[in-house]
Structure formats: C-alpha cells, structure tokens
Symmetry: C2
Subunit: 195 residues, 2 copies
DNA sequence: TTCCTTTGCTAACGAGTGTTAGTTTATGGC
DNA sequence: GCCATAAACTAACACTCGTTAGCAAAGGAA
C-alpha cells in the first residue's frame, strides 16, 4: 500500500531510516521506532526489507555508487590535475548536498554493516580514496601539485569534504557551487595570503 | 581491588571503554561486554561509575579539557597568526596522537551524551571552534591569511585534523611533528605548486 | 587479628531488541 | 464484483539491555 504522499512505502522506510540513523546512530534506532516514524508497525517493515542490516546496506551502497558515478563523470571532463582535483571536490560535495542524511550515514554508520557487505564496503572506500590519490600523484608528477604525502593529503581532503554536511545544515546562504569553489580554493591555494 | 597490571580498576574500565566505544560505537557496546573486557562482571562497574553515560561523559570531557589546554598553551607562545594557526594545528594533533581511542569517541560518540551534559558539551565544541576561527579572522585582518569564509574554513580545518587518527592508525612511520607540519603546510600553503 | 569499607559477585528486575508466524485488510487485475 | 497477492496487523519468541539489591570476598587500618 503506497502511502498518502505518493511516495512508495519502501522508499519512505528508506528515507525515514536515513534520517533516524543519521540523527541517533544506527544501533540506537530500533525497528519499532523506525516503523512508527514511517507510519506502520515494525513487522511490516519486513515486507519491504529483509532485515535491518539490509536497510543500512542499501543506504550505504546506493550513495557509494553515486560518489563513484559523480567522480567518473567529473574526471571525464577535465585533463589537468588541479582542474581534476577541483572537479572531483565539486562532484563529491554535490553528492553530499543532494543526500545529506544518507551521506552522514555513509560516513559514520557503515561500521555496523554485517559481513560480507562490510568487507565489500571497505574495499569500495579504499578504491574511491585511491582514485583521489591518483589525481594527486598525477598532479605531483606533472609538477602541478606540490610534493605532498598523498595518503595524508587524501585523508585530509576527504575529511574536509565530508564535514561539509555540518556546514550545509548550519548555513544555507551558500550555493553548492560557491561552497565547492571555496573549499577547493582553500585546499588548492591554501590559507596563506600571497600579497 | 586494583588489577594485576597496577592500573587502578577504575582507570582500566575507562581505557577499556574508550577502546570498545571507539571500535563498535557507544550504543553497540553493552555493560556486560565492557565489564568482561575489563576483567569483571557488569554490576561491578557501578562501584566505579554511576552509569554508562557517566563513563562517556568522563571520556568526552577529559579530552575536551586537553584540547583546550593544549590550544591555550600553544597560542601563548606565538603572536603571528599563521604561526598561531600552525601551533594550534600542532597542539590539536598532539592531543589526538596521545589519545587515539578517546579522540575518536570524542568526535563520534558525543551525540549519545544525555542532557544536561550534552548541551554543555555542544557549547564546549562551539567555543573551541570559535577560538580557531578567531585565529583565522585575526590573520585575515592582518593580511596574513587570505580572505576566506572563516566558518567554512574552521569546519574544513577541524575535520581534516580530526581524521588524522585514521592516518595514525594506518601508518606509524610518521612522527607527530612531521605529520603536524605536513598537514599545516597543506592547509596553509595549499596543494598547488608554486614552481 | 579484628573490623570496617570497598569491591567483587550472583540473581533478578523492567525494559527493550530484531524477527517470525499467522491473521486481517487493502489493492490491483480481470 | 471476485480473487489473488501484497502489505498491513497482532501476538509472541528468544534474546539483550542498563541497572538494583543483597551477599561474599578482599584490602587496609588500627
């Protein structure tokens, strides 16, 4: 039975889960709470999802797919490394902005995934990071980017980017484009004044 | 009864909690599991801590105090803004490095604090961020730092710094000093090559 | 050694957990 | 309208949760 908002019930469960998991943490949200927030009783959720873990899996892997897709598309448009870096940053932020709740779940709650999905997810995270690192390494080889520890830099870039959800929640006066540009500037040009 | 390692039992409970809360998340670690890992039964923990929440409080507020202390000491030694920023970054990383487990609990698990501790903690976070932002704003006024959105920059800096625990766990070949310097360089000078 | 306090234990409480099984209701197709 | 299926429900299972109460053991001081 589709809900009254024309959102399919399964989708509603997922959206509700994203929100609650993000607000309270996966482990602290029970199926009864989730079901009630979605407008049903807990056992009904099992008509749509096999288990609580499967909800988490779908949330995490869906948005992971979006990050990869956005990155691929962004990289396909640019050749120069610092431009690629900027485009990658932009792509990453766009995905976060379009999926605030699930992005937060993706960043924080994946540790609760059960095997074998957990192992698969870890590999995906590593692969995505590797692609960012490649951009940096290419840029270093071409002398476009300073010689840095690319592993450390990748960690720093990701965490800076991944915290943008907090900023997005607190200040809506920024367009995505502006924020992406400012962040990219900060990371690429640094904070020090050149005057 | 002090444990056989000459670590007071209460301290052992705390260290164990830090580790488990960080590994599995506060909500997913039960008192029975925590007690067993500390070498006792769950009800015995209540001889040392009033509640599970009080353990979390002590973890969070203790390290918060360390962050503030380290920051104050670092700022007292420097006057120039970009040097202050570097010192602040260094101080922050030092605290993380010395308290890997509790730092992670501090970053991720504070949302589980119960009121009124939660409200108090949020204020502390904001105050700490405000101090960083002040460094940036002072530097901008003195033209030492580029004109940036200081709120966004503070978010980015913090998250970049706060993710260093992940890097510290994965690669021990770096000294703290080196890592602090490289991160500070990345944030202050940026990634782009000036050659 | 004795006594008191602290700290460990066992047993249990009242509450919550994810999920299954079976029944009832709603929906969609003919 | 009828029928089959999907999706909602209730009841309940087996388990876990944080914690209290009371007893036992250990440690420290006199």
């Amino acid at each position: 039975m589709a809900s009254t908002n024309h959102i399919p019930t399964r989708e509603k469960v997922k959206l509700t889960a994203q929100k609650l998991f993000r607000e309270k943490g996966y482990a602290a949200v029970g199926m009864r709470e989730l079901a009630a927030a979605a407008g049903m009783r807990a056992p009904s959720v099992y008509n749509h999802y096999r288990s609580k873990d499967h909800i988490l899996q779908e949330i995490c892997f869906d948005i992971a797919g979006q990050f990869f897709k956005a990155l691929d598309e962004a990289l396909a448009k640019e050749q120069k490394s610092s431009r690629q870096l900027r485009a990658a940053i932009r792509a990453h932020i766009d995905v976060i902005a379009a999926n605030l709740d699930s992005a937060e779940v993706f960043f924080h709650e994946w540790i609760f995934l059960e095997q074998p999905a957990l192992g698969k997810f870890k590999k995906m995270r590593q692969e995505y990071a590797r692609r960012f690192r490649e951009i940096l390494e290419r840029g270093i080889r071409k002398k476009e980017i300073r010689k840095v520890n690319t592993r450390l830099a990748t960690f720093a870039i990701f965490s800076a980017l991944n915290a943008t959800y907090e900023f997005m929640r607190s200040d809506e006066k920024f367009s995505r484009e502006q924020m992406a540009d400012e962040l990219a500037d900060m990371l690429i040009k640094g904070l020090k004044n050149k005057d």
